[in-house]
């Protein structure tokens, strides 16, 4: 029971990250190396805005508001000032810009939050008792529910809203989309906002279960692995990939050697990449035309 709960919660954390990475890849063929940093900074912002006016007691509504404001500003800012300008540059430029963003965000944790270890204490009281004395907190339950809600919302958004359909069109062919009157800038900044929002959610969940610090940004790599394992352009793949990574990590800890669990996602990645480089659900990239 406990085993299922842990893997499910870990899957949720990674799936949210992977979903953000997938959305960004679909939107602009950008692989975001700053996703873990964004998630953790999002968690810090959630914490700080919750604590802002309430002297020691966390206000969940303020915190949520802060996180949403952060996501909108951060997403739009990254797109408008940086990613918009790297279109048409060699592929590595976009990647390395995100690496730069990652470094800057990490330094923000040091400068603004003094590299403090933080935990988010909303809904951490035990909610469900499992067999064997283990407990699940409200936060854990909420994290699963929120992740499912997020994915359903994403599905509805892409299928039924005008903007969502435009997004899919832009992902397939930006040039054609812009010729058909789609506001590509709006769509792409929206992609960034959604991705940052997903990352922030993931960071908050993570901060509730473990803790936020400059070290915890490594979850970004787990998210990236999940996205790659599932296929960089498949949202369904993101969830499956997250599950594979979470399960493998858990099993290594319990059955093989806990120490290996850090390097493990990458080993999975190497295996998947050498068999199916485009991931479990990804589409094969077409060859360069000459």
């Amino acid at each position: 029971m406990e085993f299922v709960a842990t893997v499910v919660i870990l899957t949720c954390t990674y799936a949210l990250l992977a979903a953000g990475i997938v959305i960004l890849y679909k939107a602009g063929r950008v692989v975001n190396f700053a996703h873990g940093e964004i998630a953790i900074v999002g968690g810090y912002v959630f914490y700080s805005s919750g604590m802002m006016f309430s002297g020691g007691e966390m206000s969940p509504w303020l915190a949520v508001l802060g996180a949403i404001v952060f996501s909108v500003i951060m997403g739009a800012f990254i797109y408008a000032t940086m990613m918009r300008r790297v279109v048409g540059e060699p592929f590595y430029v976009a990647i390395l810009v995100t690496v730069g963003i990652a470094i800057v965000l990490k330094s923000a944790i040091i400068v603004i939050w003094r590299a403090q270890h933080l935990t988010i204490d909303v809904g951490i009281a035990p909610a469900i008792r499992l067999a064997g004395g283990a407990t699940l907190s409200y936060m854990d339950v909420a994290s699963v529910a929120l992740t499912i809600a997020f994915f359903i919302a994403l599905y509805l958004f892409f299928t039924f809203t005008r903007l969502g359909v435009q997004f899919r069109g832009t992902a397939e062919n930006p040039l054609l989309a812009s010729q058909r009157g789609v506001n590509v800038n709006l769509v792409l900044s929206l992609a960034w906002i959604i991705a940052v929002l997903a990352a922030t959610l993931s960071g908050v969940l993570y901060g509730g279960r473990a803790f936020l610090s400059t070290e915890s940004v490594t979850i970004g790599l787990a998210g990236l692995t999940a996205a790659l394992v599932g296929g960089l352009d498949s949202l369904r793949g993101a969830v499956i990939g997250a599950f594979v990574v979470a399960l493998a990590q858990y099993l290594t800890v319990r059955l093989i050697d806990p120490v290996l669990s850090e390097a493990l996602p990458f080993l999975i990645l190497l295996v998947v990449m050498s068999i199916r480089p485009w991931g479990l659900f990804g589409t094969v990239e077409e060859l360069d035309r000459v």
């Binding site: 842990t6 590299a115 064997g132």
Partner: protein
């Protein structure tokens, strides 16, 4: 062509900054000492309060008029827990700032290279926290420590947990670091010697979701769990252990773990019951004049971190530094300071169980350790044992 100007400006500013920085050192009329620690890296939450304790002491000292009318000037550098940065900072402090000795320092991985480098130049290095054996007899020259050495801590904890339960099954947890493993090994030795059983869980350094590890520990059906790591891991492991259903005693080995960390962890775990703490220095909750003095200074000068035993640790180092410099006199030199420190004995009052005492060939001396228990009702730490003395000996 605006961007061109931006870049020229950037480049010019950097070059100017570099040139300006490398100007020769000025004449000094104060005791100049260096302090290097991790203020921004993974262990900043432990080392910042330690530095603040040291800073409080020096501030109070300078406000009293310094040592024989000479102020003490501390040059602070941050190593971010990176060895190369620590060495560069030490070189800078010895050459540019001409410091007499270097204090503080973070983990063994940064201390080792700094000890080695400063030994070449002949600068005494006195650390607060030390996972390193350089200071234990037979000690290396110029290398001293006044804090925790993993091996000694493992030893002391192995003995102190017998106060909680004799001869039960102990599960030691640590991160995959050499120091952590060494602490486990010594802990294990004493547990087995007392007729108990032993098991261990080791996890990667960069872990931040501890649930699987906690579950693994719980499955070993322990009577006592001991955690050999810093604040961050305790913050994660304690709630994870309680979530996994383990309600038995958990011992925090104080490698820079502050009281507010335990409070936060206890709060997240839902209960502060059955949490213990083994410390080299007095807890901030101890009621004795020496700790009260530190608390008063903290109130007067203010610190960024809540008052904790780490401030006490830093304060004790400050006390040691003052005594050394006072004996050294004016003008003090590095060699003279080193000679003084080699056989220095400084009374610590109630800061720890006894004096800090160096003798030739030993850069560590006997240390004193105490078991505390967290009182879930008052949210305070209470002593559960007297001070246990560990003799410094060859652990190599």
């Amino acid at each position: 062509m605006q961007k061109k100007f931006v870049f020229r400006g950037l480049a010019a500013a950097t070059i100017a900054a570099c040139l300006a920085g490398f100007s020769p050192a000025q004449a000094q009329d104060a005791y100049k000492i260096g302090y290097i620690t991790d203020l921004s890296g993974p262990l900043a939450s432990s080392y910042t309060p330690t530095w603040e304790g040291f800073e409080l002491y020096i501030k109070a000292l300078n406000d009293r008029g310094g040592i024989g009318g000479k102020k003490v000037d501390v040059v602070l550098d941050d190593d971010g827990l990176k060895a190369d940065r620590a060495v560069a900072a030490a070189k800078k402090q010895t050459e540019r700032d001409n410091v007499l000795g270097i204090f503080g320092l973070s983990l063994s991985s940064t201390q080792g290279p700094v000890y080695a480098e400063m030994r070449k130049i002949g600068v005494p290095v006195i650390t607060t926290f030390s996972g390193i054996l350089d200071a234990l007899p037979p000690a290396q020259p110029f290398s001293y420590s006044t804090g925790v050495v993993f091996e000694v801590a493992g030893d002391a904890i192995g003995e102190l947990i017998q106060n909680i339960k004799k001869g039960g099954k102990v599960v030691g947890m640590t991160i995959d670091s050499v120091g952590g493993r060494a602490a486990l090994a010594h802990n294990k030795k004493l547990v087995l010697a007392a007729g108990g059983q032993w098991d261990e869980v080791i996890f990667p350094v960069a872990t931040s979701d501890f649930t699987p590890f906690a579950q693994a520990a719980n499955e070993k059906k322990p009577d006592i769990v001991v955690g050999h790591y810093g604040s961050g891991q305790n913050l994660g492991v304690i709630p994870a252990l309680r979530r996994s259903g383990y309600t038995g005693p958990y011992v925090v080995a104080s490698y820079g773990v502050t009281e507010d960390t335990i409070r936060a962890a206890a709060q997240r775990a839902g209960s502060g019951d059955n949490i213990f703490y083994v410390s080299r220095y007095s807890s901030a909750f101890d009621k004795n004049p020496s700790v009260a003095e530190v608390a008063a200074a903290q109130k007067k000068y203010g610190t960024s971190k809540p008052f904790s035993s780490m401030h006490v640790t830093g304060w004790a180092l400050g006390k040691f530094a003052e005594e050394a410099l006072k004996k050294c006199g004016w003008p003090c030199t590095r060699d003279k300071l080193d000679k003084i420190v080699q056989t220095l004995k400084v009374d610590m009052g109630g800061l720890t169980g006894g004096p800090i005492e160096m003798v030739a060939g030993d850069g560590y001396g006997p240390t004193y350790w105490r078991l505390y228990a967290w009182n879930a009702k008052s949210n305070e730490m209470e002593p559960k044992s007297g001070w246990v003395k560990r003799e410094a000996k060859g652990y190599k």
